[in-house]
Symmetry: C2
Subunit: 306 residues, 2 copies
């Protein structure tokens, strides 16, 4: 089974501290790395995680509050200095393109690689990326400025051939792809062998949803329904729910409620306001658990299997 | 005597590593803090140094290569979130203003404080700041893009009254300022008392010069002549002098030569290329010492008395 895991590079909120870096996550799928958000200091966090900058080909930016993208121009500059030649795709609100280019122009930097901006503007969920294994969709969120979460979902996986049947029925090679998709097999004698006899059912597609920053929003539930793992911001505890409302962030309890309604496998929480510290983590977990049991705090430099 | 010291926040070059942060220095004079350059991660380095962001009122940016300013927009955003109301002065090449504002606009941030940009454009040295104690002049440098170093110099200090003479001659209060400036004193009897009898000579004005990034440039010598402490970049060792020439940086030996010719009190070196590491520091020192003896490596989070 392909590796599918999330490496937390930063899980703090707007004010970087000595203990919490601003938001950045790396999704590692098979041999590919996808970066979600890129707060200030992300390149140093990537070095700590021992991930080569050059392995990242796709970067998704949720919104243009600084704690989610101020590290991007530095990462791009470093990729340039390190001799990158491969295209780099950035999926982000439209204004980011000019923000990056005005800074490259100021230093007369002509990138040696192609920087491809995919401008996000839709208020409805849309597919923005696809490769052999994965699709990425936006998750429109509710925040002070235009914001998207991201859903990374494995494509439906094929059925698995039973090796002994392959041999027994002398199935020709060119038939295998079809059988993995569910075809029956007709032998030379005209006998139809039911697909169920030839294959095991496919493994379930895994999926990861990143939702930050956002107020409590039930509209996202159909989009993230049944995901294997959900990261949902919990900037505040319930006692500060007025602040959550005012700043369009979520409380721990609200994130738990979303996880419950969406019937996700597991919930990761983060983006805690700088007013809290590690001693408050148990309270966050406790408040989530009023709604949803399988929850964990997203810890920087930790790896979470999807 | 007023405190006058330099706190190194970052002394690496373009590629941030786990050990070296990009350029940033804090000059602490009496109760004031002046920030010189602001590479990515400066706000975290300021927290490590336990300096309140709100105590910084003047920021000098040498040039618009990212390793000298990518941390500025994050620092400004944090100052805003922390409730700053006092004016913040930024002295920098003109393009920086739009770079900051395009990012503030993208997040709909309306700063609660006044951000005053002082656009640097002159190719000659000029005074850009003055207060009761200090003057700051630019030091035009030679680099790939428009770059200034900065000279922070105490104003000429006044002579010191001899307390016993003050009493003996019954010198009225309103005369004291003049005497400190060098006036003689005429008694009621018409006797002229020579200033030398009444005062001690003033302490020498201290000064600090920051020169980074720059190729070897003798033109700066008259500007930094006799400074108490000089920080001069040494991106390369002599064996890489071709690279220094090509990238318009300096070698250790060249920095030593500038320090010698300018007859400075002490030389601090930094901005080492990421190709070197701590084991190479002795070689940098050795090469400088071929020209100039009193040299030290600028170590992050260390404090250097001017």
């Amino acid at each position: 089974m392909n590796k599918f895991e999330v490496i937390i590079l930063g899980s703090g909120s707007a004010l970087p501290t000595l203990k919490k870096r601003p938001t950045s996550q790396l999704v590692h799928y098979s041999n590919k790395y996808f970066l979600i958000d890129c707060g200030e200091g992300t390149q140093v966090q990537l070095r700590k995680a021992k991930v080569s900058f050059l392995k990242i080909n796709n970067i998704f930016i949720s919104h243009l509050h600084g704690d989610h993208y101020f590290g991007l121009v530095g990462l791009i500059s470093s990729m340039h200095l390190l001799g990158r030649v491969a295209d780099l795709n950035v999926y982000a609100p439209a204004e980011l393109k000019e923000i990056i280019y005005i800074q490259l122009r100021a230093s007369y930097t002509q990138l040696r690689f192609k920087l491809v901006f995919h401008e996000l503007a839709s208020k409805e969920t849309e597919q923005i990326f696809e490769d052999k294994n994965l699709k990425v969709h936006t998750i429109p969120l509710k925040h002070k400025i235009y914001t998207n979460g991201f859903l990374l979902k494995e494509k439906p996986r094929t059925r698995k051939m039973k090796a002994e049947k392959l041999k027994f029925y002398e199935i020709p090679h060119y038939k295998i792809d079809g059988i993995k998709q569910g075809d029956d097999f007709v032998t030379e004698n005209g006998e139809t062998i039911d697909n169920n006899k030839l294959t095991f059912p496919p493994e379930e597609s895994r999926s990861y949803a990143f939702c930050s920053d956002t107020a409590y929003r039930e509209k996202i539930i159909p989009i993230i329904k049944g995901v294997t793992m959900l990261y949902h911001e919990t900037t505040f505890l319930e006692k500060d729910s007025e602040l959550a409302k005012k700043t369009l962030h979520s409380t721990a309890k609200q994130a738990g409620s979303i996880a419950k309604q969406a019937e996700v496998g597991k919930l990761l929480i983060g983006h805690f306001s700088a007013r809290y510290n590690e001693e408050d983590y148990p309270s966050f977990i406790e408040e989530v658990k009023q709604e949803f049991e399988n929850v964990e705090v997203a810890v920087e430099q930790s790896v979470y299997k999807v």
